[in-house]
Symmetry: C2
Subunit: 235 residues, 2 copies
């Protein structure tokens, strides 16, 4: 969805959260929103789609757009790709860098990253915490071809923001594979769990907008502190 539609969705969300619609549980009609914000129906429908995907509202044809009841608990959206920091704007998100080294791809990694063997890559291992709770232990590789420089200071912040704003990279899409894995000794120690404990594992391949892979990662999630949420339309 576009910036304009997301901004409009934010404005509408603030009205929802203020309780403006809590009597009827219903948003203004599309025509009213067009009128109120001076935009086209395309934008209004885009904004409503953003809110629907986020699980905030559900549109019913012929009837209106209804506000959904609040969900309890804190979950990570499984489909977002801008990192934990963007998912939890209100929370204290800390990335502790456990390793940062410039190495080279072995055969297996080169195959996964669609590059030559011995290609220079940054290897970054981080423990991610939300509100002081360890949430994930992430091992990531970044092709030096696209990320020429990296240091601990940058890696302890939002790497994606650095790459986008400072390096000018434009992201395209990510592939994720989700499965169960078991914690090794070091991962368990970092997450405060026992070796051999199970974890949700998300393997993530991230591509630039030109279709080139620039980042692969292997992320182990704390089985208690991390839960995932996904909302899907059934049409």
């Amino acid at each position: 969805m576009t910036v304009k539609q997301r901004e409009l969705a934010g404005k509408i969300l603030r009205r929802i959260e203020s309780g403006e619609f809590s009597e009827t549980n219903r948003l203004p009609t599309e025509d009213q929103l067009i009128e109120q914000y001076g935009v086209s129906r395309y934008c209004v429908r885009g904004a409503i789609a953003v809110l629907a995907e986020a699980g905030e509202v559900f549109p019913v044809r012929g009837s209106g757009v209804f506000v959904r009841e609040e969900r309890d608990g804190i979950y990570m959206p499984i489909s977002t790709s801008y990192g934990i920091a963007a998912d939890f704007p209100d929370r204290k998100v800390v990335s502790q860098v456990r390793e940062l080294a410039l190495t080279r791809t072995d055969e297996k990694l080169a195959k996964r990253m669609r590059c030559d063997v011995d290609a220079p890559v940054w290897r970054v291992v981080r423990l991610r915490c939300v509100d002081d709770l360890p949430v994930s232990y992430e091992t990531a590789w970044y092709l030096k071809e696209y990320v020429p420089f990296l240091n601990e200071d940058i890696a302890s912040g939002s790497l994606y923001r650095y790459m986008r704003d400072d390096l000018g990279l434009r992201f395209g899409f990510t592939d994720k594979v989700i499965h169960v894995d078991w914690l090794g000794a070091e991962a368990a120690r970092q997450l405060g769990l026992k070796e051999g404990d199970p974890a949700i594992c998300i393997e993530d391949d991230a591509f630039l907008s030109n279709g080139r892979l620039f980042n692969a990662s292997y992320n182990l999630y704390h089985y208690r502190n991390a839960r995932f949420y996904s909302m899907a339309s059934m049409r």
Copy 2:
């Protein structure tokens, strides 16, 4: 996405799979597709969005729509909601009914299903197999209010198709929560694993298009036979 857009996406996908674009790895331009199929740009872009979400193509602004390399392995899309049968049209999907009973909600289930305590519900326990491999052990509850009749014959087929085509229910959306759980004795026996083995657990709440919950389920997935796939745009 709409039926028309999905059908158009299917036509384009068949051309991709036939190898028609394998030289350039590039789809015809939007204008060419408009011309070829006699539809508007809206429909063409919708069809391309379907293919992009499915991980088949990626559009690059200013350049074209490119065919993605094939992915290896069999993964379940994490966001679809029409059941395993729809996800694997080419495979042998079998549902073995292990329990089917008309019971009543206890306090906890009533809270989850947003209904009264002691409301009549069908409880259905099924083992789902794909190509003779056990994939998931699913416990589901259906409110009798919306599903007045059910039997083993229906439950061993596609329940969703039955509800949609025979009962005339219209689906809206589902909420999923994904986390790790451990197999109990019975689930382990059914899946051919050991008690205490970990499993990906997806708790699924399904709503009708009018926003009413009609189905809750608790699904345990075989840690080896079931892997999930998710593709996300990073814009």
